[in-house]
């Protein structure tokens, strides 16, 4: 069953000059069609201004389409009565870890969502414990968030969403402000959500290395979906990706260049290990 389905989705906003008069209309999203199944790990790739964050905000009823429709778990987001149900179904994690932590102690922050939903006190505690364990932050439950590292804060934010028991989590560039260590921690937590808890994950990013774990990739450019498929399929189009200012992982790039020079390597190599293996087979 489709957890998120979009049909001819469009979103436009007015660009205004300094006096507030309308200068022009910007189409942030144009005729988007999506079909994301429960349990999928989907990555949405795109350069700055490609409309990927705008699309993410449609999945949580923060923005509403100006054209077409988007259904979350079968519910139309434009129906005002569905808003809170939708926000419960798809949780959202944002880019800046500091600006989404509400509590002054880790466990209080994780409990914020369930509190808003009116969950019983005893169950809140169970949910907090369980979600902090999933992201590996249980031993920090009594700490102040301001004392944690960026990657740890982002994992707390993820736990805060997991505690709401969503079917789907949308992560809007969760690693953009983190160092490589933090980035790895967050991606590991996200993969655990998908593998162990079977939560649908929609990861929005421009780091290619994070995309290889997804089972479906959408590539966006100027409000359109220009490519879709498995990471292997998408990364075999090295030149088309370069045209929209996206670079492929290093191993893929090297394999591609070697192939162009006449080395018979398979298409769409994703990691260094895979690359070495393919190379060894040739020898």
């Amino acid at each position: 069953m489709a957890i998120i389905k979009a049909k001819n989705l469009g979103y436009e906003y007015f660009r205004r000059d300094k006096e507030g008069a309308v200068e022009g209309i910007v189409k942030a999203l144009d005729d988007i069609n999506l079909n994301i199944k429960q349990g999928d790990f989907v990555a949405i790739l795109g350069h700055n201004g490609s409309g990927k964050s705008t699309l993410a905000k449609h999945m949580n009823a923060i923005l509403y389409p100006s054209e077409g429709t988007i259904w979350v778990d079968g519910k139309d987001t434009q129906d005002a009565g569905n808003m809170w149900d939708i926000r419960q179904t798809t949780g959202m994690v944002f880019q800046n870890p500091d600006n989404q932590i509400i509590g002054t102690v880790v466990e209080e922050d994780v409990g914020f969502g369930p509190e808003n939903m009116g969950v019983e006190t005893k169950e809140i505690w169970e949910r907090v414990k369980e979600s902090l364990k999933i992201v590996g932050m249980y031993s920090y439950r009594k700490n102040a968030p301001s004392k944690l590292s960026g990657g740890q804060k982002q994992r707390v934010a993820i736990a805060g969403v997991v505690a709401m028991h969503p079917k789907c989590i949308v992560l809007d560039e969760p690693t953009a402000m983190l160092d490589p260590v933090g980035r790895r921690e967050v991606i590991r937590a996200v993969r655990a959500l998908n593998d162990v808890e079977n939560i649908t994950v929609i990861l929005i990013t421009h780091y290619m290395e994070e995309v290889i774990y997804a089972n479906k990739v959408y590539v966006m450019d100027r409000g359109n979906i220009v490519m879709e498929g498995t990471p292997r399929e998408v990364f075999s189009h090295v030149e088309e990706l370069a045209k929209i200012r996206l670079s492929v992982p290093q191993a893929t790039k090297l394999a591609y260049e070697l192939k162009k020079a006449g080395v018979p390597l398979p298409d769409g190599i994703l990691s260094a290990e895979e690359f070495t293996e393919a190379l060894c087979r040739l020898l």
Partner: protein
């Protein structure tokens, strides 16, 4: 320098005061603050000091931590002391130029100084032993009857707790901007007071802009997590009175009675 402000900063440790219901602590702070203005003589100070010292001991927070909070108000403290020292009429002790120090002036200045120090330490004890979340919960619950006359109690409590949790973030940010501006040649340390205030502009403008941006992001994150005001919300840590809280109220009542009665009784004995 910015790190010295302990007001609104929680100190993590295990103690009776930490476990006490925030409503008791709020009441206690209020009673203590009021009690400081209920007496005029030395005996009252002994009672108040005894109470304060035992609270500090009970809280298990290092004393040095409490005095850190005083640094921030030292100028205010000095001004108060000086004004009282010179402006109180009475029996002259020393006099030079147009200024006279009177015996009454010395007494009032000293009393005033201790009163202010006690005030700040007293409220620091509350904020050091109570998490901001817990504190606002207590306030929300204690003031909840006001919501019947349309006072947005929950919203005020939420605003306060967010403000408190953003203090460390904004302090870090101030530090960062300050360093960035200093690297570009900004000078925050020299010149007279007007010059210094003027030099603060390149610090305050980016700080305000970033604070607004943060507020916007936070509002979005809260909405995404289904926040829709106080109604229909459950509590992760609902407030319930325990036996120790009752004991706390009793101790408060005894203290209040003591501070009213003891100085008067002592006075009478000495007068006779």
């Amino acid at each position: 320098m910015l790190r010295d402000i302990t007001l609104g900063q929680y100190y993590q440790t295990e103690s009776v005061l930490h476990r006490l219901d925030p409503r008791v602590k709020l009441m206690g702070t209020l009673v203590f603050l009021i009690s400081l203005f209920l007496f005029q003589n030395f005996t009252g100070y002994i009672v108040a000091t005894l109470f304060l010292v035992s609270m500090i001991a009970l809280s298990r927070v290092p004393v040095s931590f409490m005095f850190k909070g005083l640094k921030a108000v030292i100028i205010l403290l000095m001004i108060t002391v000086l004004i009282n020292l010179f402006a109180t009429p009475g029996e002259t002790v020393v006099s030079f130029w147009k200024l006279t120090i009177t015996k009454e002036g010395i007494y009032t200045a000293l009393f005033m100084m201790f009163r202010l120090i006690y005030l700040i330490i007293g409220s620091s004890i509350m904020t050091l032993t109570t998490t901001p979340g817990n504190l606002t919960d207590g306030m929300e619950k204690a003031l909840s009857p006001l919501s019947h006359i349309r006072v947005p109690v929950h919203e005020i409590a939420m605003m306060m707790s967010i403000a408190l949790s953003f203090i460390p973030i904004l302090l870090d940010e101030t530090d960062k901007i300050m360093k960035a501006q200093m690297a570009r040649g900004a000078d925050f340390e020299s010149g007279n007071i007007f010059r210094r205030v003027k030099n603060m502009v390149p610090l305050l403008v980016p700080l305000f802009i970033s604070a607004f941006r943060r507020a916007n992001d936070l509002a979005l994150a809260m909405e995404a997590r289904c926040y829709r005001g106080g109604s229909g919300r459950t509590k992760m840590k609902p407030l319930k009175y325990h036996l120790r809280d009752l004991a706390g109220y009793v101790i408060l009542a005894v203290y209040l009675a003591a501070i009213i009665v003891v100085p008067r009784v002592v006075d009478k004995i000495f007068v006779q």
